[in-house]
């Protein structure tokens, strides 16, 4: 079996609610609809719509308390950040090939609205050359079958490839998410360069510039 699933995240329709008394931030792409969460860590859940399956949003419990350690103005800046998020869209594709038992995830950030139109009118899109590198240099850990795809020469991360997906897929995804979270919250710990790069890519998309500086330090 092989499949190719493509989902475009239109952040134009981003909808959020911050409950100050409970310190809970809920973000949804479009109005909230019934779904089930995947708990990434005890404070972070990704919400999925079940049928058809698509990424519906996320819940952050303890948003101010956790992120104030990184940015003391995080609550005040929330509307501005959501506005900025609403100006971008990301297209993600998930391709699985059963012959090689490989899952490839790729993402492309695009501008929304009139900015996308301007880009289409005035700029030519070219496929950039890319290379794959292992996410972990440790042969024993769950990330040994995970490769990141980087463009050349900028080394911007544009995708992830997981080999032996049916055997190590869940552990590999858990490893990727875990490495990203550890990179954010334990900046002094030793992490692989590619874990830093994936985290930075996501953070830059959300404009968490202060956070990125912390990681780089």
């Amino acid at each position: 079996m092989a499949f190719n699933l493509v989902q475009r995240f239109e952040f134009e329709s981003v909808d959020y609610s911050y409950d100050r008394s409970g310190d809970v931030l809920d973000i949804s792409f479009g109005p909230p609809v019934p779904g089930v969460a995947l708990q990434v860590e005890d404070w972070l859940a990704i919400r999925m719509h079940v049928a058809p399956p698509y990424f519906q949003g996320m819940t952050i419990v303890g948003f101010r308390k956790i992120f104030e350690k990184i940015n003391r103005y995080v609550e005040k800046e929330l509307p501005k950040r959501m506005q900025k998020l609403a100006r971008t869209s990301v297209e993600m594709s998930f391709s699985y090939d059963d012959q090689s038992d490989t899952l490839i995830i790729r993402w492309t950030e695009e501008l929304s609205g009139w900015r996308r139109l301007a880009e289409k009118l005035f700029q030519q899109r070219r496929t950039k050359p890319s290379i794959f590198e292992t996410l972990s240099s440790h042969p024993g850990d769950s990330l040994r079958n995970v490769y990141v795809e980087k463009t050349l020469p900028s080394k911007q991360i544009v995708g992830v490839k997981i080999l032996e997906f049916t055997k190590v897929g869940p552990a590999a995804i858990e490893g990727i998410l875990g490495a990203m979270i550890d990179t954010i919250f334990e900046p002094r710990a030793e992490h692989d360069e590619n874990a830093h790069l994936i985290t930075n890519t996501l953070i830059e998309n959300l404009d968490w510039t202060r956070l990125a500086r912390l990681i780089a330090s």
Binding site: S17, D19, S21, G22, D23, V24, D26, S28, P32, V33, P34, G35, V36, A37, L38, Q39, V40, E41, D42, W43, A45, R47, M48, V50, T59, V61, G62, K65, I66, I173, E174, L177, G178, F185
Partner: protein, 107 residues
Amino acid sequence: MPGIVQDPTGLEVILTDACWQHVISRHPEMRPFKELVLEAIRQPNGIYLGTRDPARRIYRKHYSAVPGVGNSVDVLVFLGDDNKHVATAYFIGYSFRMLGRLVWPST
């Protein structure tokens, strides 16, 4: 009417109408399941303290099937900073990492 229940450690927990309205506005699938949320506090499978926020109390209860939601799901209930009021609650299908430090049942 707010729901007031006691957890297995004797802690009294309040689910206010305002909080419940917030829960069902952001997690519409929860609407018919207020009683499951209260049950998760009264008779959880585990009570945890958060990893990034160690003051945050989390209740987890497993259900083999919940009509309209799915099979093998857990209800998670999070308390607020005051350790008295429910902050939010929702169903999870899978947890990538441990929910934090297990404080009940004690091992």
